[in-house]
Homo-oligomer: 409 residues x 2
């Protein structure tokens, strides 16, 4: 007998028929003798409907009231899910975030979980109930309803699994696992049976939107065994996310190819090559709350250098304006340029720690296709390059093939 | 400065525009220096939408889960109302039933209020907030969400007014007060400026559906000054419901004509006239949870008698089946008959306590129009008759005129 936390997203509980499907799956696990905690999101579309309603009465909705309102989405789903289980003869009981007491700070609309009272849930599980918990929501110490921000239901699932010391946290979504890359770009992309947390973090932050990055971090911190599965398929083991490299396993060197089309490149040309320049450029950007991803600075030849970084495309114009108004004259830069037509492609894999030549293999592959590399950035388990947007699909395909990702690892 | 509780029903908060209207009215009271607590129902249609959703997953929805689900209706409205007030620059704060701590028993879907923690609300009022409370809902001692049953928002309003010792509890609805009878039947029907609780109880239970009867009882018990007003009119004082007859007032003898088309008549013919018969007939009816309204038994001539009572039309067939299957042979009754084509009409007024001749005036008026009276029942302040359904409108009109109700009292 195992204790399993299953989290179902909005598309998996979008209507009564799908909620019945969830109940049937839970019933199968229950029939095997497992204890099951189900975490559900709002029915898809519901959160947006409520947000729109709020904006009709208040141009900039009050965060506390917004959370009170939006949290009703999951509250409806928990009751429906519990009732669907009961209709199948399974004892079930729903809990809102406040009823569990998922204690959070009071940062409305983006609260952080501080603690979970798991006692009542454990009592219900031991009494034979399936416990259905509202994802995405909690309560602060004063009893105000809070939400964890978009995608927070994953975090609820992982946090509950950690608090209950569950054997596994299963995240059901509309894909059946984590793939070596996006199958829409590379039809040969293969589902990974396992992936490490670090790889998952790199893949998630690079735009593989299977799991919320906060949930993955949380799972890593509390060593929760996390599995991504499809809620639309009866069979399949999904992808297991492990928190340490399994030693006796033939670990593939590269796990996947991540990519991102959402970034734009900002270049500050002809910057004097002296200490403090990076801060003088990026300080005003940070003050404006603009997230910076890659940062490249090279040694210059003539006492000046070029400084390049990437931001989200939506913030490109804002970043350019700040640099031109507040920074350019001050530091004596020659020119500020922006480029939206870029894409980032990365190879990710813990195996590269112990293997040399991954970077050169990557650069050779791109060169053979005539793809120019504009920026390079590396971490322990990832090599990212920025290329012209038009080469994105080609780059992903040839890298996928070069690293043999279409073959079972 | 007064402390006022204002309760707005579902039609008054049916959409963002109407919620803004509510906010504007609250703002006017606030501008006069009053403290205001607003109690709101779910947006009209929402509760039924949620009920339908529940029935899609469970044929007989679990009461606890149903309450968790249905209570989200008011939770959305409190947040929207608080936001609409804030948008107008008024400080406002919402409370669910659980957040106030409106403590109830655990009779899900029809819970009774046991107590209210008014401390936090009072603190917020003193700090200048308008407090917006979810009607219709509470929480039991274990933290389960409960609802008070249909129309329970009125009860929430009155209970809060009692707990806070409010100066007045204003019930906003889609009519502008309590009328001498239904203006759709008698165009001359007149709005009453005051009415006693007892009269209101009789009028409400007779089908004048302005206020929930439980709320009126509650107001009487705690001596809450209750006023019914229209949420769609800017002006007007509505109808004030008083808990004692004002002595120095020229009290009208009759306050109004109530009526009810929802009942059906059951007659047990040829019953032996012996002790215990009433219980033998009504015991099985009560066991089946069927509400009985009027009960008439007359002395028989030949050792047998006829026993007649009324039930809701929806339960007529069930009542007839019980009597035919379980009672008729057992007590030796000759026949069991049912009649759906009846209507009940009543004259109501505390004045009839000190005036004779009201009953005979009523019977004379009906006789002059050729309306046959099938049943008669009287209380301290009410005389009810059952007539053929087809005479309902005529009976109401002629009685309204006979007692001079179209003239200001």
């Amino acid at each position: 007998m195992a204790l399993i936390v299953q989290k179902y997203g909005g598309t998996s509980v979008a209507n009564p028929e799908r909620i019945r499907n969830v109940a049937r799956r839970v019933a199968r696990y229950k029939a095997l003798g497992h204890q099951v905690v189900v975490v559900v999101s709002a029915m898809s579309g519901e959160t947006n409907r409520l947000l729109a309603l709020a904006r009709e009465v208040m141009s900039d909705p009050d965060p506390r009231e917004l959370d009170t309102m939006v949290s009703t989405g999951e509250q409806v789903t928990i009751a429906l899910t519990a009732m669907a289980l009961m209709e199948m003869g399974i004892r079930a009981k729903s809990y809102t975030g406040a009823q569990v007491r998922i204690l959070t700070d009071d940062a409305f609309t983006k609260a952080r979980i501080l603690g979970i009272d798991e006692e009542n849930i454990r009592k219900d599980l031991d009494a034979g109930f399936v416990v259905v918990v509202a994802g995405f929501q909690g309560v602060d110490e004063h009893g105000n309803i809070t939400t964890l921000g978009r995608g927070g239901s994953d975090t609820t699932g992982v946090a509950l699994a950690a608090a209950l010391k569950a054997d596994e946290c299963q995240i059901y979504t509309d894909v059946d696992g984590v793939y070596t890359t996006d199958p829409r770009i590379v039809p040969e992309a293969r589902r990974l049976t396992t992936i490490t947390f670090e790889e998952m973090l790199e893949l998630a932050s690079q735009g593989s939107k299977v799991l919320q990055i906060r949930a993955v971090e949380f799972a890593g911190k509390y060593q929760v065994k996390l599995r991504v599965l499809s809620s639309f398929e009866e069979e399949g083991d999904g992808t297991l996310i492990t928190f340490e490299e399994e030693e006796n396993m033939e670990q593939p060197i590269i796990s996947g190819i991540a990519f991102n089309r959402d970034e734009a490149k900002v270049t500050v040309l002809g910057v004097p090559d002296r200490p403090g320049i990076a801060y003088q450029i990026l300080g005003p950007i940070a003050d404006a709350n603009i997230d910076v991803d890659m940062i490249i600075q090279n040694t210059g030849a003539d006492g000046t250098t070029d400084f390049t970084f990437t931001v989200h495309k939506n913030e490109l114009n804002k970043a350019l304006a700040i640099l031109r108004d507040k920074v350019q004259a001050h530091i004596g830069a020659r020119e500020i340029t922006g480029d939206e037509k870029i894409a980032k492609v990365a190879v990710v894999g813990v195996g590269m720690r112990s293997h040399v030549g991954i970077a050169s293999e990557m650069f050779r592959t791109l060169a053979e296709e005539g793809i120019n590399i504009q920026m390079i950035s590396t971490s322990e388990i990832k090599i990212s390059v920025v290329v012209d947007e038009k080469y994105l699909e080609l780059a992903v395909r040839v890298l996928h093939k070069a690293f043999g990702l279409e073959q079972a690892g």
